[in-house]
Symmetry: C2
Subunit: 441 residues, 2 copies
C-alpha cells in the first residue's frame, strides 16, 4: 500500500486504493489499554450521547461502530469509513471533548478506523470546520481556544522543546535527508520529496532575490537546511535563530562539516532578541508558534533589522478564516500553535508600513509532502515504537494523516508572503524570474 | 518633455530631466482667479501659519514661495522644488484644510509648482503619509475621513456618475484605444500602453484559468474592454455589471460591432444585485468604490454565485496600512473612494471561507501606466480645456501627477487577489502557467 501518492497520481488520500492503513498495519498490536469485556452492551443513553457528539461535530460522513457492534451514522451522505470505538470510556471522554477524546482514544488503541484513515479524517475535518455560528458548539469543539494563550519566551521555549527536541534520530526516520520539516514545493509533479524540498529552498531564495554578499537573518531555522543552502548556493551570510537546543547543535555541526561556519551563525535564541541589520529576513514554519499577540512585535523586530532595500519572506501554515487550532493537536502535538488567517498575518506588516508584494498559497503541496512523511513514518513504524512506544507511533500517525486531511479539504492553507519596505522601488516588476528556465533545476 | 518614461528608463518622475511640467505648459495662462496686488506683504502671522501647515504635513522637502517672494522651508533635507502660493486666501484655506486647500489652489491657478510636479508631489506624499500617531494632526489632514461613509446604491450611482460619466470623449483623449482605466501590466519593459493594457487583460484571464464555455460574471466593467476580450480570446460568456449609464451604452455598441452581443451581456446595475451562477468572478478597479462596510456583502454576492470549482479575481488599488483617501481626491475626483489594506480586503473572503490563492502587488506598473496617461492628457490639454475649462484640466493634471507620486513613494499599492472555494482542489499547483512561453504574447 502506498500512502504517498506516486508521481502523476492525485495526492488526496481519498482517491487512493481502498486498502487502508489500518488493514495493513494490524492495529490489534497497537492497543495500549486493555480491552473491555465484549459483553457490555451499549445503552440507549450512550447511543443518544454518540449522536449528540456527531451532531456537534457537524454530522461527518462516517459510521461509528460501538464495542457491542451497534452502529450509528447521522450523516445524510454515505459514510466513507467507520470509526470503531472499543471502549465506553472513550465515548464518555468524547462527550466532554469530542476532538481530544477521539485523538487520545485513537492513540491508546481504543479507537480504530475501518476504511482509509485519511478519508475518514477528511470527512471529519470537512464536517467540523464547516462555517457555523459560534457559541456552545464551538466551545465544546474547542474547549480552550488557544488564540490568546500567552507566548512569553519561556513558554515558547517549553513548547518548542516538547515538539522539536523529540530527538533528531526520530525526525531522520521520516524527513528528507536535509531534515526539512516544512511544506515542500513540487515544481514538477513527479518530484521526489528530496527534490521537492530543495525546490522549496530555491523558490524561497528566488522570492528573496538573494545576491552574493547579502546578509540574511533567519527566524526559526530548524536543523539549518535553509540557512546552509542559502550560504552554499547563493553566496550570502546568515544569522539563524532557533530556540531548540538539539536543532542548533545539529545545525552547527552540519555547518562545520560543510566548511560554512564562518558564513552561517546559528544562534540559540528567541526571534524577539534578533538585532543588527539584514538585506533579507526569512522565516519558514516559525509563525505558527509565535502567537497572534506577538505578530506586531515580530513586525517590530523585522522593521528594526531590514535595510531600506531589504526583502522578506514568511512561510506559514494558515487559515481561510480565523479559527482555533484543532484542540487535540494543540494538546498533544503542538502546544500553543496557531495558524493565522491572512487578515491576522497583516498585523505583522501593517503597523510598520511594510509592503506585501506577493502571497502564494501552496496548500496542495502540503498534502503531498505529508503523504511522503506519513508513508516514511509508517515504514519506520517498528523503529518509532522501539524509540518511544505504540501510543506515540499511533499519535504521530493520526497527526500526519489528520494534517493530510486538513490540507486536502481546505481547512488549512500554506502561505508564503513576500514583503519589502514601503519606499523600496527596487522590487521585481513581474514574478517571471521565479519561473524562468535558467532558474529551474 | 517626456512624462511617460520611455522603455528602459526609470518610471519615477523624480529621475526625469529637470525640465518641469510647469515650465513647459506656461501656467500663467492657467490661472483662474484674478491675481492679487503684488504689493500685499506677507505678515509674520502668515509665515508662522505656513510653517505650522508644513509641520502638520510632516515637513515635506519643498520650498514655499509666497506672493511677495518670501520663502519658507521647514524640511531638514534639501527641497526638490517650490510651491508658489500666489494668493493669501489660499494660505488661509490651507491652514484649515492643508490638502484640500492645496489641491483647490492648484486647480484655480493660485498655486504653481517650480521644478518637477511629480517630484514635488512625491516629496509631499512621502511626508504626509509618514507613519505618525493619530489625533489632531490626522484630523486636520483628513477632516472627514471617508472610511465609514455610507455606500447605499443611490449614493454609489451618484459617485460613479460624477467620475465615469464625464463623457467617453474625454477619456478617449488619454486612455488606450480599448479604454482601460485601470493599471496596465508591463510584462516587457519596453511595451506601449496599448500592449501593456492587453497584457493586463491576459494576465487576469490566465489567473482566472478561463476555459471555453465558462460563465463569467464581471462586477464593474468600465467600457467593457475586459468582458469583450474574455469572450473573444477565451471563448467564455460574460455578464458584466456597471452603474455608469454612459459606459454601459458604449459597451453594448462595442459588443454589437464585434458580433459578441449574444455572449456578452452588459447590465446597468449594482454589484449587490448580481445573481445566477458563474465559473469565474472578476472585478477590476471597482473595489475602490465599494466602501469597507460593504466588503462582507460583496463576499456574500460572490459566495452566492461562484460554482464549487469557480475561481475569482479582484484587482484594486490598496494600501500598506489602513488610512483614509487623500481628502482632495475624495472631494474633487473620486467621492467616497477607499483603497483598502489587505487586512481589510480579507473581509470579503474570510466570512465565506473563500480561499486566497495568490496576491500580486504590481504598484510599479501603476506608476508607468499613470505616466502614460499624464503624458497623453497633457498632449490633449487644449482639447480638455475646450471640453471643460482650465481649472478642470489643472485638477486632472494634479490628480494624475499626484497618483504617480503616491504609487512611486509606496503610499498606494495595486493588488490582484485570486481566490477559489475552500474545498476546490482543482487549483493550479504552481503559477508557472502565468509565465510559460506558450502563454506569452
Amino acid at each position: 500500500m502506498k500512502l504517498g501518492a506516486p508521481a502523476g497520481e492525485s495526492p488526496v488520500g481519498r482517491e487512493q486504493s481502498a486498502s487502508s492503513l489500518e488493514q495493513t498495519h494490524g492495529l490489534d498490536n497497537g492497543r495500549v489499554l486493555p480491552k473491555q469485556p465484549e459483553a457490555a452492551k451499549s445503552s440507549r443513553f450512550e447511543r443518544w450521547m454518540l449522536k449528540s457528539v456527531l451532531g456537534i461535530c457537524g454530522d461527518p460522513a462516517v459510521r461509528v461502530v460501538l464495542w457491542d457492534g451497534e452502529t450509528v451514522c447521522t450523516s445524510p451522505s454515505p459514510p466513507v469509513g467507520s470509526i470503531v470505538i472499543r471502549d465506553r470510556r472513550v465515548l464518555r471522554r468524547m462527550a466532554l471533548q469530542p476532538i481530544v477524546g477521539f485523538g487520545d482514544g485513537y492513540g491508546e488503541g481504543l479507537i480504530d478506523i475501518e476504511g482509509n484513515l485519511v478519508d475518514v479524517l477528511s470527512a471529519m475535518s470537512r464536517a467540523v470546520d464547516r462555517p457555523r455560528p459560534d457559541g456552545l458548539v464551538g466551545r465544546i469543539l474547542n474547549p480552550r481556544p488557544n488564540i490568546h494563550r500567552p507566548h512569553h519566551i519561556d513558554a515558547s521555549r517549553d513548547s518548542v522543546h516538547q515538539h522539536y527536541d523529540l530527538g533528531n534520530s526520530f525526525y531522520k526516520l521520516w524527513l528528507d535527508e536535509n531534515l526539512s520539516y516544512t511544506c515542500a514545493y513540487f515544481s514538477e509533479p513527479g518530484m521526489t520529496l528530496e527534490k521537492a524540498q530543495t525546490a522549496k529552498l530555491d523558490h524561497v531564495c528566488r522570492k528573496l532575490q538573494l545576491r552574493p554578499g547579502d546578509r540574511v537573518i533567519e527566524a526559526g531555522c530548524g536543523w539549518g537546511g535553509l540557512a546552509l543552502h542559502m550560504a552554499k548556493r547563493y553566496g550570502v551570510s546568515v544569522r539563524a535563530f532557533n530556540l531548540s537546543r538539539e536543532q542548533i547543535v545539529y545545525a552547527r555541526d552540519w555547518a562545520k562539516s560543510l566548511g560554512l561556519s564562518d558564513r552561517v551563525e546559528f544562534v540559540e535564541d528567541d526571534y524577539r532578541n534578533i538585532s543588527g541589520a539584514c538585506d533579507a529576513f526569512v522565516s519558514v514554519g516559525m509563525l505558527e508558534h509565535v502567537g497572534l499577540e506577538n505578530f506586531r512585535e515580530l513586525g517590530r523586530v523585522i522593521d528594526g533589522v531590514l535595510t531600506p532595500s531589504g526583502r522578506g519572506l514568511i512561510h506559514t501554515i494558515g487559515r481561510n478564516t480565523p479559527m482555533p487550532l484543532d484542540p487535540w493537536i494543540d494538546k498533544r502535538i503542538f502546544p500553543g500553535a496557531y495558524p493565522p488567517a491572512l487578515s491576522e498575518m497583516m498585523r505583522i506588516f501593517e503597523p510598520w508600513h511594510l509592503s506585501v508584494l506577493d502571497v502564494e498559497n501552496i496548500r496542495m503541496h502540503y498534502v503531498r509532502t505529508l503523504e511522503h512523511w506519513l508513508e516514511r513514518h509508517e515504514r519506520a513504524r517498528g523503529e518509532v515504537v522501539r524509540m518511544f512506544d505504540e501510543r506515540f507511533a499511533r499519535m504521530w500517525r493520526l497527526y500526519l494523516a489528520g494534517s493530510i486531511a486538513a490540507f486536502a479539504v481546505g481547512s488549512l492553507q500554506l502561505f508564503q508572503v513576500v514583503f519589502a519596505r514601503e519606499a523600496n522601488n527596487d522590487i521585481p516588476w513581474t514574478r517571471m524570474h521565479l519561473y524562468s528556465a535558467r532558474n529551474a533545476e
